[in-house]
């Protein structure tokens, strides 16, 4: 029988290893898996590479993880925010590495990892410093930059409802990076508002099929 509901949040994150690349869902706080991040902080893995759209807000969630000093590098599109003081001070102190990636490239590169694409010619960033020294090519009169997949060892994401097969639906714009991070990571761990019976989610409306999900942690437990 397939039962992806984790016995506890501690067990769900227990095997995350030092040096892992961890994809963390959310656009700001919407879709941020706060409980899983807290569990990762308690678990203690270090030397992490975090891939997320932002680099933490205020002192909770991703910001709290950064504050532990266990994050070596952040790959994100928009670190600088009014309340990103934790990241800002680590960055200015030279204590964290930043790889800045345009938001659409971040999304498409994770989708590519999930879909088995080896690399793709991308229209975004051509002629900008974020294209770095990457290969470029003109195709049909337009310039493109070659971009590579971003894979995660682990994805920590938040969804609204799940069943025991790991099928997921999200809530409004909190969906954001969840579905593509689930595709891109070897192990996807999801915190959900609610677990429902198998069959309760309409097969027409499932956003992330369970094949992409390894562990589900209900917040109602």
């Amino acid at each position: 029988m397939i039962n992806k509901i984790a016995p506890s949040i501690e067990s769900a994150v227990a095997d995350i290893r030092d040096g892992s690349t961890v994809l963390v869902g959310g656009f700001g706080n919407a879709g941020m898996p706060f409980a899983l991040i807290d569990a990762l902080i308690a678990q203690g893995a270090k030397d992490l590479v975090i891939v997320s759209n932002n680099a933490g807000n205020a002192d909770h969630g991703l910001a709290a993880l950064l504050k532990t000093g266990r994050v070596r590098k952040v790959v994100c599109s928009f670190p600088r925010q009014v309340d990103s003081w934790v990241f800002d001070s680590l960055y200015h102190a030279g204590k964290i590495e930043l790889e800045l990636v345009p938001q659409g490239n971040l999304a498409e590169r994770m989708r590519a990892a999930g879909a088995g694409i080896g690399a793709f010619f991308c229209p975004t960033g051509v002629g900008t410093e974020l294209a770095g020294d990457r290969e470029t090519r003109e195709i049909n009169g337009r310039m493109y930059v070659l971009e590579y997949p971003i894979r995660g060892d682990v994805a920590l994401i938040k969804a609204h409802r799940a069943d025991r097969w790991g099928n997921l639906v999200y809530r409004k714009t909190a969906r954001n990076f969840g579905p593509i991070m689930a595709m891109a990571a070897a192990t996807t761990i999801v915190e959900v508002d609610e677990v429902v019976e198998l069959g309760a989610l309409d097969p027409e409306n499932i956003v992330t099929p369970g094949i992409y999900v390894q562990r589900v942690v209900p917040m109602t437990a």
Partner: protein, 215 residues
């Protein structure tokens, strides 16, 4: 000389957005455009964090922090709205499906190059978000910005000195002094505010401008 206010600039941009358009309004100044969209037009707003058919801010007390815009502020969803994930959202932008995006800018060059994501200051933390995707993705990229910096430098330039967001991507610039199209031959002014004559606009701008105002 009475420069256009931010609201007047927003209203001027809004006038040029046709009924039925799919539009992304960038963070900052362009967000104001939403307040001036003509009520007799149905315009579908896209927000890159995953919604088409974005509505105005909710009434106080009805905020839902799972329903936000690109500035992470609570919004609403209109009848006809759709939610989608980030790869789908950026496919819409990068695939050329949006009719118009409106962006703020530090500088726009006569080739249509846009600089709006980074001042290049060595101690500044860079942040780009969806700016580079938006700049090159929409069918038309409009820029909305003050014509001059606080210390009087023109933001219309021959060549951007700030790091680029996108190359040859800006179709039109709306400033507090003028409306300027960009084509293969460079800047072409289609509108100047009252009380400002064209020669003075050229002097303030410090770049070559063609006068393309309707007679």
């Amino acid at each position: 000389m009475q420069k256009r206010t931010r609201e007047e600039m927003a209203a001027r941009v809004a006038r040029d957005i046709p009924d039925g358009s799919y539009v992304n309004l960038g963070i900052g100044l362009p967000t104001l455009v939403a307040n001036f969209l003509p009520t007799d037009r149905e315009i579908v707003l896209h927000s890159e964090n995953g919604i088409l058919g974005m509505g105005p801010a909710p009434v106080r007390g009805a905020e839902d922090y799972d329903l936000t815009n690109a500035s992470k502020k609570p919004v609403t969803a209109l009848a006809g709205a759709a939610f989608f994930h980030q790869a789908d959202s950026f496919a819409m932008m990068r695939g050329g499906h949006l009719d118009i995006c409106v962006l703020g800018a530090f500088q726009v060059s006569e080739k249509g190059d846009l600089a709006n994501w980074h001042t290049g200051a060595p101690d500044a933390i860079p942040a780009v978000g969806g700016a580079m995707d938006l700049a090159i993705g929409a069918k038309k990229t409009f820029v909305m910005m003050e014509h001059l910096t606080k210390d009087g430098q023109s933001k219309l330039v021959a060549l951007c000195s700030y790091p680029l967001t996108g190359r040859s991507c800006v179709a039109r610039v709306y400033t507090d002094l003028a409306v300027v199209d960009i084509d293969a031959e460079g800047f072409s002014v289609i509108e100047v505010i009252p009380e400002l004559d064209f020669a003075e606009l050229v002097r303030l701008s410090g770049v070559a401008l063609r006068d393309a105002r309707p007679a």
